[in-house]
């Protein structure tokens, strides 16, 4: 099949960028989207032009490295699918495909389709963990976790930190990402001791970098792991509770 590509090219963060157009004549429907870009890059190098930079690694939809806006949709047209798992059979012969990097204030463009998502790591650093230094753990089965709780926690923990939720959000908010981590840990019995300090620290850090949530719902639609927007409600509830709980703790320590 043939495709016509319009790809965002930008040499560096502060350099101006623009679209360039390319035609590919020999694309197999069994190729993944990234394999199609590999072919483009081979072709560009053969012509003496610099290949398109894009992040990718596992190509199995789990590392979260890849991600681009494809025809205005984060990770492209197929629901619940990261860019690397999108295949060309989902496009028509002769399709025009526009490819852009994630667009969000918190994600600066590094080059072409590659962006800096470091702000997501900073949210985790602020509190996205359970403090359990190595060696101090009790016997694993000493703490039963109801199956429904473990399953719900796992649903949230499936997040791959790709940033599609942020890119899809008209406000550039990272609520779905943050809520997924808050829910993963706050639902579990092991996560209870730090529950309210965690949610406060993570949300406060999130707000330093990202926009606000207006319950638009684009994040859930774009998420390659189909993480539910319900987790945002859970995070918001815990955040409100934290305002009281954490204040009481401060009063006690004074």
């Amino acid at each position: 099949m043939r495709v016509h590509l319009r790809v965002w090219r930008q040499p560096a963060a502060h350099a101006p960028g623009g679209f360039e157009e390319y035609d590919l004549d020999d694309v197999s429907p069994d190729m993944s989207f990234l394999e199609m870009l590999d072919i483009l890059n081979e072709q560009l190098v053969a012509e003496g032009r610099e290949p398109v930079a894009f992040d990718h690694d596992c190509r199995e939809g789990i590392c979260g490295s890849c991600g681009m806006m494809i025809n205005g949709q984060a990770h492209g047209p197929e629901r619940g699918t990261a860019t690397c798992q999108l295949h060309m059979r989902k496009f028509d012969d002769g399709a025009h495909i526009v490819i852009e990097p994630w667009r969000a204030a918190a994600f600066t463009v590094i080059k072409d389709l590659s962006v800096d998502r470091g702000a997501l790591d900073r949210i985790i650093q602020a509190g996205g963990y359970i403090t359990a230094p190595t060696g101090s753990a009790p016997e694993a089965n000493s703490l039963p976790v109801p199956k429904e709780v473990a399953d719900a926690s796992m649903d949230a923990a499936a997040c791959i930190q790709c940033g599609a939720c942020v890119a899809a959000c008209p406000n550039g908010a990272a609520h779905l990402f943050t809520a997924a981590k808050v829910a993963h840990l706050n639902l579990l019995p092991q996560g209870q001791p730090e529950r309210f300090t965690r949610v406060q620290a993570m949300v406060d850090e999130m707000e330093r970098w990202f926009g606000s949530c207006t319950m638009h719902g684009e994040c859930e639609a774009a998420c390659p792991k189909e993480i539910s927007i319900d987790f945002i409600a859970l995070m918001n509830r815990d955040y409100v509770k934290a305002q009281f709980k954490n204040r009481r703790l401060i009063a006690q320590s004074a």
Partner: protein
């Protein structure tokens, strides 16, 4: 010739007491002195992230380097099926002794008894640790942990988090690491690739790192260097490894004197999605856990063109169940891979390219219902559907073996230190615990055992002797010379400006390796590979085309450096495979097989670790042998019948 003697430093005493005795004997660093020591960790997969986090918790000052944008992208994240531990929660006869025995037998008796036993001992602590961190393992309705079975075992000892166990374990380690970053105990450097090891007066004193965004080449010094950079399966181009997984860190350390042990022990995983065309960029694994419920078969008749659901039971050959009744579909990976290859080579392959066999869930779906199968393997089925466009609930999966894991790696002693003092190697990057074949769900176990529990308890033995010394300053000639070499190498890759892309050479190398040093190897094929690799390497350095500059993100340049190292490593793999005149585990020499086509070891001549010393590109490496002594297990022909 060099005078290296390989001392594995295995502690005395009964097998079960060695680790305890050893922990009592190692020198310690007291808590207030730990902040005087700096440790560099390269790589943040399961082994690296767990090590960096734990060393930070202990109070050491740690610098963690990784080439991804976030530590959580490391390829451990893609491990699907599970992690083994000798908890015996299922009351089905498991024990530390049995996990030890299964692992050493699964490795075809080519690993060290003491290391493997320690791995089995530590396995139970890993599960405790991960649960405490909030890893959402699968649970029974009563809230207790669930298990499933993996290849090479007759017990259920595998803990799992749906089909994303590696992801969840890595997130646990990553979150522990980010906590240490927040506390200031660990400094992390993302998009930073180690391009050389710095050795001074015979000790590892630091590394040279290239910032992938700015191209800046910088040195970092420390009291000890830990490599946790994974395996080298991408030398085959097509593998289940992530695209950027590479051997550069361990290869550069090898060039600086670290011995490379058993490079020919590479694992071909039986259940991967067959290649669909020549543009294929990588192969995708379908978890071994699928063999719990999936049955492997081919049509009995050659050229049977009927769709699988129209082929009746009596016309199907469930060849694993037929040949290995005791273990059935759950034979170890090397055994399953060879059996599948035999069917496809014999012309009974299925699919448009006749390059696969069926993995059929029909029986399981009838027996358990679609929803149970969806709960166990839902994300794997979805992944399969995305890639092939076929629905595995209806049409059997097609699978074929692919390169997956490398048991070989840098040689380390019982402390996980290489022969270069101060250089530690953990996880898949070392050679130690898996022998000639790794059992499923044991890689996660080894990575975390090394990172959480073993290295943090052994590294003090070396550091204690350095108390009161500062790291070598990075303006030392040892550092400036290494930096200059790195910069020269980068410049020379850009300067060639030849005709072919980096991927072109990588593909060619992969083809040579797969055809001649893949699932079946012979003297003839290996000699062929050894004649072809050097000329491909020369052609690469004469005719590769890397565009762009070295002062901004340049992914072709990164790849070029890695492929250039693969082109050197490939020769060592084939050299090792040629010298090992026996078949064992993943290393199958067609000249050495039993009457029914199983691997035939030669314990009299090859019960040793083959550790190679670098002597220059293109010049024959020198072999050092560490004899494997078996005091506690009886060497036997492996049988899964």
């Amino acid at each position: 010739m060099s005078d290296i003697t390989l001392d594995a430093k295995i502690p005395d005493g009964p097998l079960a007491d060695k680790w305890d005795n050893h922990r009592f004997e190692v020198k310690l660093v007291n808590p207030s002195n730990r902040r005087r020591f700096e440790i560099i960790v390269i790589g943040t997969g399961l082994a690296g992230a767990s090590a960096a986090a734990t060393l930070g918790e202990l109070g050491y000052r740690v610098k963690a380097f990784f080439f991804h944008d976030s530590p959580r992208r490391a390829h451990s994240i893609a491990a699907q099926g599970g992690i083994n531990a000798a908890k015996n929660y299922k009351n089905d006869g498991d024990s530390i002794q049995r996990l030890f025995y299964d692992t050493i037998k699964g490795g075809d008796y080519r690993s060290r008894e003491a290391n493997t036993y320690r791995l089995a001992q530590v396995s139970v602590e890993i599960i405790d640790q991960c649960v405490a961190q909030g890893v959402p393992f699968a649970r029974e309705y009563g809230g207790l942990l669930d298990n499933r079975s993996f290849g090479g075992a007759q017990v259920s000892r595998t803990f799992y988090a749906r089909g994303q166990t590696g992801q969840q374990l890595l997130l646990g380690a990553y979150q522990a690491l980010e906590r240490q970053v927040h506390l200031g105990n660990v400094q992390q450097y993302n998009r930073s690739e180690m391009l050389d090891l710095v050795v001074k007066d015979g000790r590892a004193v630091g590394v040279v790192v290239r910032d992938l965004l700015t191209g800046q080449v910088r040195s970092h010094s420390a009291h000890a260097v830990v490599l946790a950079t994974g395996g080298y399966g991408n030398v085959f181009f097509l593998s289940t490894n992530a695209k950027a997984s590479n051997a550069t860190a361990i290869w550069r350390a090898h060039r600086r004197g670290a011995l490379f042990a058993n490079p020919c022990y590479t694992q071909i995983h039986p259940t991967c999605i067959p290649a669909s065309d020549e543009f294929q960029s990588k192969l995708v694994l379908m978890s071994e856990s699928l063999r719990n419920d999936g049955r492997v078969w081919v049509p009995k008749e050659f050229g049977d063109e009927r769709p699988p659901n129209l082929i009746p039971e009596e016309d199907r050959d469930y060849f694993l169940e037929r040949r290995y009744p005791a273990f059935g579909n759950l034979v170890p990976r090397d055994v399953a891979s060879r059996a599948i290859k035999r069917e496809v080579d014999a012309g009974r392959g299925v699919g448009p390219l006749k390059n696969g066999v069926y993995l059929d869930f029909g029986d399981a779906i009838t027996r358990l219902g679609r929803s149970v199968i969806a709960e166990r393997y839902g994300n794997l089925f979805q992944m399969y559907e995305r890639i092939t466009g076929e629905d595995p609930y209806v049409v059997p999966m097609r699978i074929y073996p692919a390169v997956h894991y490398t048991m070989g790696g840098l040689w380390v002693d019982y402390n996980l230190m290489s022969n270069v003092p101060g250089l530690y190697v953990i996880g898949e990057a070392n050679f130690a615990d898996q022998g000639a074949n790794r059992l499923g769900a044991s890689a996660l176990m080894q990575g975390l055992a090394d990172g959480y529990f073993i290295l943090p308890n052994t590294i003090s033995d070396y550091l204690a002797g350095l108390l009161g010394t500062a790291p070598v300053p990075t303006d030392d000639p040892a550092f400036t010379a290494a930096e200059a070499e790195v910069e020269e190498r980068v410049r020379s890759l850009l300067a060639v400006n030849g005709r072919y892309t980096v991927d072109h050479f990588h593909r060619e190398l992969g083809k040579i390796m797969w055809d001649n040093c893949g699932m079946a190897r012979s003297e003839e094929s290996l000699k062929k590979a050894l004649s072809e690799i050097p000329s491909l390497r020369e052609e690469f350095h004469r005719d590769v085309r890397v565009l762009g500059d070295d002062r901004s993100l340049n992914q072709s340049l990164e790849k070029a450096g890695r492929v250039s190292d693969f082109l050197e490593l490939a020769e060592l793999i084939c050299t090792d495979a040629l010298h090992r005149e026996e078949s064992c585990g993943g290393h199958f020499r067609v000249e050495h097989q039993t009457e029914d086509g199983e691997a035939l070891r030669d314990d009299e001549h090859f019960a040793y670790v083959g550790a190679w010393e670098f002597s220059g590109v293109g010049s024959p490496p020198e072999l050092h042998k560490e004899p494997l002594e078996f005091e506690f297990v009886h060497l036997a022909q492996r049988s899964y019948k």
